[in-house]
Amino acid sequence: MAWKNKRLLWLQSGGCGGCTLSLLNTEAPSLFTTLADIGIELIWHPSFAEQSLDEAMQLLQRLADGSEPLDMLCLEGAVMTGAAGRFHLLPDGQSMSTLIEQLARRAGQVIAVGTCAAYGGISAAGDNLTGATGLNHSGNHPGGLLGADFHAAGGLPVVNISGCPTHPGWVLETLALLASDSLQAADLDPLGRPRFYADKLVHHGCDKNEFYEFKASATAPGQMGCLMEHVGCKGTQAHADCNSRGWNGEGSCLTGGYPCINCTAPDFADPGHGFFSTPQVAGFPVGLPTDMPKAWFVALSTLSKSATPARVRQNAVQDRIIVPPSLPKKNKA
């Protein structure tokens, strides 16, 4: 494995900074130790770098004109292309989108951190009058700032670590693989997401799986039952490993009692219905698992509903276990 120090520049534009803050949650070891361990030198980051003002601007210009090498560029936040870039200006009056494009065309590897940088995300939601877009995608469509045929100097397209926010593990593991030249184009899914987390579904490992199996559904956030049928949960369609790796130790949206809103998907912020409700046709949710024949889903859920144990049905609409699982006869009092 080739392992050499890589120089990483991290920029922020049309986003909330939450992917950086989430990155700070990384445990054992903490962020800067981990970066050093995986052979990455963070040459500038808006939240952490020592250099400010002119020194920072000069460094950015040297990287943009190629007089200093740039191995990795991470962008957090969407690119603001509307009004000739006026929605995000640098102090010298240059638009941030211009600088991002210059840097992306210099960098060996370009990484979009978060759904905004990857696809536009929530910054592109609604009427998007700011012209927010992703680096290599605009919503579901290839293109974005850099164009559909973009490849970074190192040969890869933009690596889209989507998520709103991103899990610190997704970011650091992607960076570690990139730093050791161990991530190939085949390791990315069709939306540019690293397959190591995007080939899983949020549904995998969900706490509520028994409720799902029996279609024992919650009617409101906070109840124990499955949130898919009534409460907007998209865990069966959402590409991410949120329930097989914990957030902040042991959490996920589902363990927190609220629905997955599919935040790794390009258009999650405009679902076309309320985030806490599931549109239905003839009593069945519209958004079914993407690779399951609908007729089978209907047949199986009708069958499983008829077989639902009373315990599961009753607990589904409670906020805690009311009826515990029964014990074998030999253990009963």
Partner: protein
């Protein structure tokens, strides 16, 4: 006179540029620019009321829970429900974790690294400060991040994750706490307290909370020279930080950490040594210097956000909130003054709000909130509900949701039409603190604080200390 545009200001949250007019070695005028606009007030329009809970946390990655709290408060009014006591306690715990984490991130990651810079290498304290607080590399950083990550386990347990939880609902929280979970939460909080007492303060938290005068603070500093807080106090003495960054000395705060017994920190306005009630009708937004439609003061309940990138008078995407026409400062110092904390009242009576008192207010608040968290945890009645069901339809069409983020007062002014959001105006803490000039030409609080600063160069660290002493959050500012 020379004019310099400074930026990008880093080690602040979000994007910030500042234009300084500089004459005879002094700042004669400052103009603060928030250079990024996303338009969340427009992104919210037309959505179902409860959808605000999914949208507003994404305004800000560092004040995410505060944005959720403000929305949940507004929705509680709109739906005519209130959380049960357990729901309120869990909300307070989640909110306190974010606020404490923000205070520590500010101190260790954003603010202190400036004192490790080579500009100060002649100072007797520089070598020790470089070793402990250098950006990314100082010996204080990794232990702080480990302690912070441990505290953030509260978010995994109670809120699913941080940032951007959906656990805060108008009727309470979506997560109940079991007895076993409370044991884990208490373990993490004890570990976090140990970190603070060992590294940050060098004393029990109660001893820090008991510091009731500048004299007591000086005594603490002498007795605990190795504590991080004392290191800062020593540097502050050496650089006379109490003389830097004074603004209008008019402070504004909303209520923070509600409970059945009332709020821990009251709403109000503090000016001239006295507190007065906060009159919400006196709050206006002025867009004169913003790249936004509008000019004079407008009531947030009736205001809109329409970008005009080419507006000639504009120099920021931020509006200028005003209280009865006056600019006001918000943050931990405002909260402390309105609680009547003796130490902060003493410091402000002597030197007003400044770089020193803002930082002392933040750290002493950390020492006060951790014991409160212990009480909230112990006070959970585990068999009782954590949430009341939300009615199907709102009972009101207009509501205001207020809370205190780490950086100060945050307000959401919400109007519904047939259950959907027809208007949503947000005034964030740094919108107050880093506002541009209004239609009367009145500078915002940071602009005022920078006026008259003597510096060898516009980029001098004094200027940067003043800017960072407010702990700005620029993504909230323009939203």
């Amino acid at each position: 006179m020379s004019r310099r545009i400074l930026g990008p200001f880093n080690r602040v949250e979000g994007d910030l540029n500042i234009t300084l007019d500089f004459a005879d070695g002094k700042v004669s005028a400052a103009r603060v620019t928030a250079p990024l606009f996303r338009g969340f007030e427009r992104i919210l329009l037309g959505r179902e009321a409860l959808d605000a809970l999914a949208i507003v946390p994404r305004i800000c990655g560092i004040c995410s829970v505060s944005q959720s709290v403000a929305a949940a408060h507004a929705l509680s009014s709109l739906y005519g429900i209130n959380p049960p006591p357990n729901g309120q306690r869990v909300l307070n715990l989640i909110h306190a974790v974010e606020n404490i984490a923000d205070h520590l991130s500010h101190f260790y990651l954003f603010f202190m690294p400036d004192f490790a810079r080579a500009d100060y290498q002649q100072q007797p304290w520089h070598a020790a400060t470089l070793a402990r607080f250098q950006a990314q590399r100082g010996s204080a950083i990794a232990p702080m991040l480990e302690a912070r990550a441990l505290l953030m386990r509260f978010m995994g347990s109670l809120a699913g994750h941080w940032p951007h939880t959906l656990c805060l609902q108008p009727g309470g929280v979506t997560k109940v706490v079991s007895a076993a979970e409370r044991v884990r939460l208490q373990q993490w909080l004890r570990s976090f307290r140990r970190y603070l007492e060992q590294h940050t303060f060098g004393q029990p938290l109660e001893a820090i909370a008991a510091l009731d005068s500048q004299a007591a603070l000086e005594h603490y500093q002498q007795q605990n020279p190795d504590a991080d807080f004392a290191c800062f106090l020593h540097i502050a003495d050496s650089l006379q930080l109490h003389t830097l960054g004074r603004s209008y000395d008019r402070f504004i705060a909303a209520a923070a950490y509600a409970s059945a017994e009332g709020s821990w920190s009251p709403a109000g306005v503090w000016h001239g040594g006295h507190s007065q009630p906060l009159v919400l009708d006196a709050i206006s937004e002025d867009s004169h210097s913003s790249w936004l439609a509008g000019d004079g003061p407008a009531a947030p309940l009736h205001n809109d956000t329409v970008p005009l990138p080419d507006k000639a008078e504009g120099y920021s995407w931020s509006k200028a909130p005003r209280l009865a026409g006056a600019a006001a400062e918000t943050g931990a110092l405002a909260r402390g003054l309105l609680r009547g904390e003796n130490l902060l009242c003493d410091m402000v009576a002597r030197d007003g709000g400044n770089v020193l008192s803002r930082v002392v207010a933040r750290l002493s608040e950390v020492a006060r909130i951790v014991p409160l968290m212990e009480q909230w945890l112990a006070g959970l009645q585990l068999e009782q509900p954590f949430q009341h069901p939300c009615p199907a339809t709102p009972v009101q069409q207009q509501a205001i949701g207020l809370t205190e983020a780490a950086r100060g007062m945050l307000g959401h002014w919400v109007t519904l039409d047939a259950g959907r959001i027809s208007r949503y105006q947000i005034i964030a803490p740094t919108t107050w603190n880093f506002s541009p000039r209004d239609s009367q030409g009145l500078p915002g609080p940071l602009e005022k604080a920078l006026e008259g600063v003597t510096a060898s160069d516009p980029q001098a660290l004094q200027v940067q200390h003043i800017v960072r002493s407010f702990d700005p959050c620029q993504v909230c500012t323009t939203h």
